[in-house]
Symmetry: C2
Subunit: 336 residues, 2 copies
């Protein structure tokens, strides 16, 4: 009888590993590159420069409202490439599985990976599976690396940012972090809150058609928009002024954050981007964002300034202002 | 006071993560691509085709005679690229750390990664660090992905293999698996046995200078040479005859295998390759292998045949013969 759970033998590199690859992985992820099953995939890139990135996903629990670790692992890596001005092309997929993890759950996750890859237009071309004994890992960890080609000849770099540039945010904040948190804690207000995990490469490609208009992009995941904005201010040596009122947030997410004592500025997003754009093109780019599937709630949230270099200033709803710093401790472990 | 162990905050994406990256990782791994610290690294490849691979490393214990998880994670991925005919260029590095893992041990591992990357001539260009709570992972897991350019225009594929081709093995078998096993079990015979973890890209580049002479290569890691030979036989639809007597094995490794009840044909190697080569070039290629730092004990161990398709036949020392199959269960979990 075939096992219904992951065994140590599935990580041996021998027969059980081959069976897992042939029965569960390849049929769902099939493409000409993966099917070769060599140690490395040989890939056309048709360019002399590539973008390359990696991320580990350890989200707890692996299934949450709006997605699962598989969808997250594809979208997260796709987005890291997209915000650097890339057209994501190829993904690698590396599993670390705990002995005893149910095979039917792994099937669902692999199907999610296949669906997410299909939506984003990328191919999973190479992979690896390791199994560790019970108690040596928590259910399932996935590392995805990705390769992209560049959409435009000139890469987006933080050195492109100019004082006066407009800060755009592609939608509401905190959805992913709060959805995972409520699921993990088994709290009841979760009905309306789902993760925003989504591929952003359609949006980034569409807003980059006008050369130079988009200066820089980043996706505010771990640490939330506060941390991402702080990174941009620090690395650009410029200041950023943000209007609290302009930041989109769903009422249910705002309410849950308040109940949980969390600041939504620091909560992870998995389908949002911050774009720094030329001020005279901001309105136009915002329109394009809003016409994208994952950009309906996009908003202009602030601007770049020469004043207060290396700092992010938040203009509060009540008319005050405060400095926003990077996340200091860890408010929500294993959110992605 | 700075913590001496990994905290959950080190995986937050916020200040502590930045500090870990700036203080511990970047100074050791420094290069122009990594220092940009963007979501993706922008890399010149100067070619229209790349090789891409990934592997997770979960070896237990992370330190063992002859190496550690860091050196293993670099060499393993370098070798997956090298045996496909690649010149390894860029690595990504993804850590999953258990809360409480000592920072001084992480430093040693990162230094090992830097040293191994230097030896192999590759750069670590992008990375990620996640931290999970105590008991949710076992100390440290590393996933490395790698990008290579091709040494020769035509890639090495299993379809190149012809009946009559010679099977070369670059050195002795079982060293890595036995070294880790003895360390893990705290057994005393370990004095003479060290892991063979090593980069093979110098050797692969040198033996590939003659076009067409090397048909195919693979590195026999998990599952040992038995599993790798079985894979080659299955995928090429040809038979392979191996002479037991010709397979290099160190007496200490043979002895330890016997005591432990393990078949060295199935034990993992981390610095060996099997090359299928044109019979009239075999002697010459063997000479080149033996002149390489990690190929001194290289040997011709068998040949490809049209007889017994899809099977590996071992001619035993005493004159008999038996079929060698792929590893069925798991004899040594978490060996790499």
């Amino acid at each position: 009888m075939k096992s219904k759970v992951i065994l140590l033998a599935h990580g041996s590199g021998g027969k059980a590993t081959h069976q897992l690859i042939d029965d569960l992985l390849v049929p769902r992820l099939r493409n000409n590159f993966l099917s070769e099953l060599t140690d490395s995939a040989l890939l056309p890139v048709d360019t002399d420069k590539i973008l390359f990135t990696t991320d580990a996903y350890v989200v707890d629990p692996p299934f949450f409202p709006g997605g699962d670790i598989g969808r997250l692992a594809v979208n997260g890596t796709v987005n890291d490439l997209a915000v650097c001005g890339g057209k994501p092309r190829y993904l690698s997929l590396s599993f670390i599985l705990e002995e005893g993890f149910p095979l039917d759950k792994l099937e669902i996750i692999v199907q999610s990976i296949a669906d997410a890859a299909g939506e984003a237009g990328v191919m999973v071309v190479t992979g690896d599976t390791k199994v560790v004994g019970r108690g040596s890992a928590d259910k399932i960890f996935i590392t995805t690396s990705g390769v992209a080609t560049l959409i435009t000849e000139a890469p987006l770099t933080i050195r492109n940012i100019r004082p006066g540039d407009t800060m755009l945010l592609s939608g509401s904040i905190g959805d992913h972090g709060i959805a995972v948190m409520l699921e993990r804690e088994g709290l009841e207000l979760k009905a309306d809150i789902v993760s925003d995990t989504a591929p952003l490469n359609e949006m980034t490609a569409r807003i980059m058609t006008e050369p130079g208009a988009v200066r820089f992009m980043r996706d505010p995941t771990r640490g939330g928009i506060a941390t991402t904005l702080s990174e941009i201010a620090l690395q650009s040596q410029l200041g950023i002024i943000i209007n609290e009122e302009a930041i989109p947030i769903k009422p249910a997410v705002a309410g849950a954050s308040e109940i949980l004592g969390l600041d939504p500025l620091y909560i992870a997003n998995e389908g949002k981007l911050i774009a720094v754009v030329a001020p005279d093109r901001a309105e136009n780019i915002l329109e394009i964002m809003r016409s994208c599937r994952y950009g309906k709630d996009a908003a202009a949230i602030g601007m770049v300034t020469e004043k207060s270099p290396r700092k992010v200033i938040l203009k509060t709803r009540v008319g005050g202002s405060r400095i926003v710093d990077m996340l200091a401790g860890e408010q929500l472990p294993r959110i992605c």
